[in-house]
């Protein structure tokens, strides 16, 4: 019977973890999740996760920011209250455009950065006062934890993970 049992293999080095992830994938065990104290380069690829679509969001948010800035500056500086600054003609957006480029740039960055962070939090189901999902507090300090599903092969898996350089292998009953 396939239970709710999972293996927690704990490592204390990111290179060892990466090797272990490669081996686990090669042995066709299903990795549910990996918890790390810091982002490990290449881990997503090694785990076979789909590439992030956050970059596409960032591009769209940037375009929105650019549009907002253009419309905003056009309204403030041209339509609503034309001002003569440095003798520049104040009735044309395009002729004043160089002066608005810094604003357009900053708004692009502002929108892209903030909305991207918010998207990331929502997508990762993170919000203030949320209870942490880490199964082991040491993964917030200096340990790495790989969670692998058990399918009636507990003994085999424990043996396998002990051979991958794990400092600790636990079988946990997940509810």
């Amino acid at each position: 019977m396939s239970s709710n049992k999972v293996i927690h293999a704990i490592y204390n080095d990111d290179d060892v973890l990466m090797d272990a992830v490669h081996k686990t994938r090669a042995a066709h065990h299903h990795i549910e999740e990996v918890f790390t104290p810091f982002p490990v380069h290449g881990l997503d690829k090694a785990m076979g996760l789909a590439p992030t679509r956050l970059a596409i969001c960032a591009f769209i948010y940037g375009c929105i920011g650019l549009t907002v800035a253009t419309v905003m500056m056009n309204y403030i500086m041209i339509t609503d209250w034309p001002q003569d600054i440095g003798g520049k003609p104040s009735f044309s957006y395009i002729q004043n455009m160089p002066a608005f480029v810094p604003v357009m740039f900053e708004m692009t960055v502002f929108f892209a950065a903030h909305l991207m962070v918010i998207t990331f939090y929502m997508r990762s189901k993170l919000w203030p006062f949320k209870e942490a999902e880490n199964p082991d507090v040491r993964t917030t300090d200096d340990h790495f934890l790989m969670e692998v599903a058990v399918h009636d092969n507990e003994a085999e898996l424990v043996k396998f993970f002990e051979g991958t350089g794990a400092v600790e292998v636990k079988v946990i009953d997940k509810h």
Binding site: H41, A55, G86, K88, P89, Q95, P98, A99, V101, P102
Partner: protein
């Protein structure tokens, strides 16, 4: 070990020979005397006949450059009397036309031929003489831009290499020999460049107006108060000594650092590596100071009245991205020939990121320089961009398209940064764009509206490209392409992310 394929060698020789022929053609066809120019101007006028509106801007522009070259004051007064120079865009053409006939200062000038030229064609001689100088400058300027550009590519690659050494970068040691191959061009390139500088100093041409006789002599017809005020710094002996020191310093670092890198291959400890680390740190300090001064001396001083405080950075960004692009393209070439087996797509990706990033950095500086001058609209500053937007409209905005719009569209995608043919295409556009950028820095002050990218310009590019290919790939055959005892070589070989 890399072997220089005979095909590429022949190609480089063909480029050099075609280049030399074209450069010679450029010098031979430059007008010799005033009669030739007058005949040419007559022919041009006949062409423009009836289209008075069309002819006007070119004359004004000439007049403006002429005044600007010879004396600052009249231009300053002329333009400031017309401070309605609002947008840099179109109405500027009329500014000079209005200002000159009505400003007595311009007429009162001893060599105020320019004002007369635009006022009524009654004195054609002064104008023709000016055009003659521009056309005689043209082949020299073409040679100068190409020579400077290729030398700076090597210098940009050298700066990038030094940064890798100082940062103790783990990813790049597999590319060190490629970078050293490119920097090998620095020595021949800078020697030719130095000879060119000497020729300027001995008055073979008039690229640098501040070198003309009498500019610092009160009462002389060439006297220029602004240049006279700068002559403590801007005089030929000091200028050429500075150039000699800079070029010697860069070549010394390149030579010693290459020597240490080769010695490290056979060493038993890391002492040569450590020496290189320390030397590179010292070089970078020397480099950024000399680079800044170099950009004033060799580029900004063709417009001796004009100055911009971020010019050094702007020039740096331009040749730095060109150097990185060249590293990337040579790497891709060698890889396509089956060399550099340790270079993987992550290395290529990193180089593309630098190409992308420094292109954006260049744009940032280009825009910063433009916007402040455009906004403040101070006559002696804004004239720099007026000349470029009126007479160099296509290359001026074309450079922005090639150096910013194309790279950002082509290289923003992560996957594209690893696809060879896209990188090569983007690289070719970037290199052409930065050539045009240097063209825009030198030409307006030396040939004015007589510019054209024709046989002299293209031939100069071909000649230096041929020499560059020959020197670089020849240098690559001299040592194994893997610096095998570099302490980071294992990390570099396994670099991935």
């Amino acid at each position: 070990m890399y072997t220089f394929s005979s095909k590429l060698k022949t190609f480089s020789f063909v480029l050099m020979i075609v280049g030399i022929l074209g450069i010679g053609y450029g010098f031979l066809t430059a007008p010799k005397d005033i009669q030739e120019v007058e005949a040419m101007l007559k022919a041009e006028e006949a062409e423009h006949h009836g289209g008075g509106h069309e002819a006007a801007p070119s004359h004004e522009a000439k007049a403006e450059t002429a005044t600007h070259e010879a004396h600052a004051e009249p231009v300053a007064t002329a333009t400031s009397s017309e401070t309605a120079v609002d947008s840099v865009a179109h109405d500027t053409t009329t500014t000079v036309a209005h200002a000159e006939p009505t400003t007595p200062a311009a007429h009162a000038e001893p060599a105020g031929h320019d004002a007369k030229a635009s006022a009524g064609h009654d004195d054609h001689k002064g104008h023709a003489e000016h055009v003659l100088h521009q056309l005689q400058n043209k082949p020299w300027a073409a040679l100068y831009v190409a020579c400077l550009f290729f030398m700076l590519i090597a210098l940009g690659a050298l700066a990038f290499y030094a940064i890798q050494q100082v940062a103790q970068a783990g990813w790049s040691p597999v590319l060190f020999r490629v970078m050293q191959g490119i920097t090998a061009y620095l020595l021949p390139g800078s020697i030719i460049f130095f000879i060119l500088l000497l020729l300027f100093g001995f008055h073979f041409n008039h690229l640098f107006v501040w070198m003309n006789d009498g500019v610092t002599e009160v009462g002389h017809e060439n006297y220029d108060a602004l240049i006279a005020g700068k002559s403590g710094y801007l005089n030929f002996p000091f200028w050429i000594v500075r150039a000699a020191i800079f070029i010697a310093g860069w070549n010394l670092y390149r030579h010693l650092s290459r020597k240490n890198c080769l010695a490290q291959d056979e060493a038993t400890d890391n002492s040569f590596y450590k020496k290189n680390f320390k030397m590179s740190a010292a070089f970078l300090v020397f480099f950024i100071v000399t680079e800044s001064i170099m950009s004033w001396d060799w580029i900004m001083s063709v417009d001796p009245h004009w100055f911009s405080t971020l010019f050094g950075w702007y020039v740096f960004a331009s040749f730095f991205v060109s150097g990185i692009t060249t590293i990337s393209m040579v790497t891709l070439y060698l890889k396509s020939k089956g060399y550099l087996e340790n270079v993987n797509s992550s290395h290529i990706h990193d180089l593309s990121k630098f190409m992308f990033g420094i292109s954006v950095f260049w744009t940032y500086l280009w825009f910063s320089q433009f916007m402040l001058i455009w906004y403040s609209n101070i006559p002696e500053e804004v004239t720099y961009f007026k000349t470029r937007i009126e007479d160099f409209n296509l290359p001026f905005f074309g450079a922005v398209a090639m150096n910013f719009v194309f790279p950002i569209l082509l290289l923003i995608n992560t996957d594209f940064k690893r696809i060879s043919w896209i990188i090569v295409m983007a690289g070719i556009i970037i290199l052409f764009g930065h050539y045009v950028d240097f063209f825009n820095m030198i030409m307006p002050a030396t040939v004015g509206d007589r510019w054209f990218i024709g046989i002299p310009e293209i031939s100069a590019i071909l000649f230096f490209l041929g020499l560059f290919i020959f020197v670089v790939f020849n240098a690559l055959t001299k040592a194994p392409l893997v610096p095998k005892r570099n302490p980071f070589i294992e990390e570099s070989k396994h670099f991935h992310y």
